[in-house]
């Protein structure tokens, strides 16, 4: 039982207009990463990107991306991420930058981190609300988006695919 060693980078895509996020898809992000790696690390880096690199998950609402890199060269590829200044999706260029928030060995640890991270963010945001009513609104909004269905299913898919890799 040998496991193919990977590193998963949990990145958030920062854009100036939030509505632009909905334009993004997996392929656009992958192409942007590949282009940045080819620019900063040349053919050598681009070749590292050919095997084992993929965009595992993209949440177009929150702008969270899971990038999968082979473990042996993830630092090299990671160093190219700050050079991404825009992502081209559906014919338009979206100016943005990637902010890496976590590096994990499995998707599961990244998911756990993401949940904790979001909780932390919420705790940080809630005290900033002006009155009770606003807080209530936020809580309702959270409940709505964490309804069983959309997001949760997506995560289950990811977990299955991760187990596939464990040979």
């Amino acid at each position: 039982m040998v496991r193919v060693k990977r590193r998963y980078l949990l990145c958030e895509v920062n854009v100036s207009k939030r509505s632009d996020l909905l334009q993004l898809d997996d392929r656009a992000v992958a192409a942007a990463v590949r282009a940045a790696v080819a620019l900063t690390h040349g053919d050598y880096g681009a070749a590292h990107c050919l095997v084992g690199f993929s965009v595992k998950y993209l949440n177009a609402h929150t702008g969270m991306v899971f990038l999968r890199f082979p473990k042996r060269c993830y630092k090299l590829l990671w160093s190219a991420l700050p050079f991404i200044t825009s992502i081209e999706a559906r014919g338009q260029k979206i100016p943005c930058f990637l902010n890496c928030v976590h590096v994990g060995g499995t998707i599961r640890t990244c998911q756990k981190f993401l949940i904790r991270y979001n909780t932390q963010q919420l705790h940080r945001m809630l005290p900033k609300c002006k009155d009770e009513e606003e807080k209530q609104q936020v809580r309702e909004a959270i409940l709505q988006c964490s309804l069983p269905g959309g997001k949760k299913e997506a995560f289950e898919d990811e977990l299955e695919s991760e187990e596939d890799e464990e040979k």
Binding site: Y44, H48, R72, C73
Partner: protein, 354 residues
């Protein structure tokens, strides 16, 4: 798997500091470690022509022979063994054979014959040997080392016959061979030389006068041995005739003379090339010491001795090989107060010099 692209191969540099006046100094045994010296170069500051006593030592370096296309079993010839090898007066090395590709042979002054063979030749030869320690995993190079002065290797002995028949009838190993001998020992080689195409060569001397040279301030009591590398770099730049006068913003090169530096009005660089005997080098060192003792402006003198890249042995009896470059050389920096700095440098496939 991916290869780490930011690692250079192994190298070792040994820096020794001591004084000629210290009874425990090992300088003469250290200088004898390199049996096959290719080039000796001297750097004498404040000197524009070699002093006569140095010049005569340089000119008295013994000559050496090149024997073309000689079968190696000739080294086991009874007459040759008796007149030359047992006297310890002869040493030799195969010429124009690359140790990373071909079979190399060395005959050491102590009577040891060392063959560095590829796997096929080793199996054909059928004599006991050891896998080279630098690629012991793949086992594609083997070292056969026999002591010709040993009783079992006496002509007619078992080991002798086995090696001789191996070299004569199974592995037909022929190479160009360089031989050097004791001064005056040439007669003992005539029997061997008469049968092959040979030529005698004198070590080639060349000298250069350098003017207005920037030079690192060398002090005998310099406490920091860490700048050995920068000193050797500067010496190499002088030897290769590379200018050290660059500004930090220069596009081509940013090589500069190490700080603190001084200017030398003139300096003399002399080099001798050929197959040089360690005894000759030792005599040269003695003369250099005498040169430094004389009242004069020369505060130091430097001597660099390069070994043969393709020699199967270096640093005593250690095995030598080539990975990216087979450098094995030493630099001796001598000062007026009898102290010296000795730098012994090796490449990747070398033992650590003692």
């Amino acid at each position: 798997m991916s290869v780490d692209v930011s690692h250079a191969p192994r190298s070792v540099l040994v820096c020794d500091r001591s004084s000629f006046l210290d009874e425990k100094n090992r300088i003469s045994s250290q200088l004898q470690q390199l049996h096959f010296n290719y080039k000796v170069s001297l750097l004498l500051p404040e000197c524009s022509s070699a002093p006569s006593h140095l010049d005569s030592v340089l000119k008295s370096f013994s000559s050496f022979y090149l024997i073309r296309n000689m079968p190696i079993y000739e080294l086991l010839d009874k007459h040759f063994l008796e007149t030359a090898v047992y006297q310890g007066s002869v040493s030799g090395l195969s010429h124009r054979t690359r140790i990373d590709e071909e079979n190399c042979v060395a005959l050491m002054p102590n009577g040891r014959l060392c063959l560095s063979l590829d796997k096929h030749s080793f199996q054909v030869l059928g004599v006991e040997g050891k896998p080279s320690k630098f690629n012991h995993k793949t086992k594609n190079r083997f070292v056969v080392s026999v002591d010709l002065t040993d009783s079992s290797m006496a002509p007619g002995g078992r080991g002798y016959v086995r090696l001789l028949t191996g070299l004569r009838s199974r592995l037909h190993l022929r190479t160009d061979f360089l031989l050097s001998h004791h001064p005056g020992g040439g007669a003992s080689l005539q029997h061997l030389l008469s049968r092959y195409d040979w030529s005698e060569h004198r070590p080639e001397i060349s000298s250069r006068v350098l003017t207005d040279l920037s030079c690192p301030a060398l002090l005998s009591s310099d406490p920091q041995p860490g700048d050995a590398h920068s000193f050797l770099e500067w010496l190499g730049a002088v030897d290769a005739d590379i200018s050290c006068e660059n500004s930090s913003s220069s596009f081509m090169s940013s090589l500069v003379c190490p700080e603190p530096k001084t200017m030398l009005d003139k300096a003399l660089s002399v080099s001798v090339c050929g197959l040089l005997r360690p005894q000759d080098v030792h005599r040269l060192v003695q003369q250099l010491r005498r040169h430094l003792e004389q009242p004069g402006p020369a505060p130091w003198a430097s001597l660099t001795v390069h070994g043969f890249v393709d020699s199967p042995v270096s640093w005593g009896d250690g095995e030598h090989g080539v990975l990216i470059g087979g450098e094995n050389f030493y630099n001796l920096l001598m000062f007026q107060d009898h102290t010296y700095h000795l730098h012994l440098a090796t490449g990747s496939h070398d033992p650590c010099p003692q």
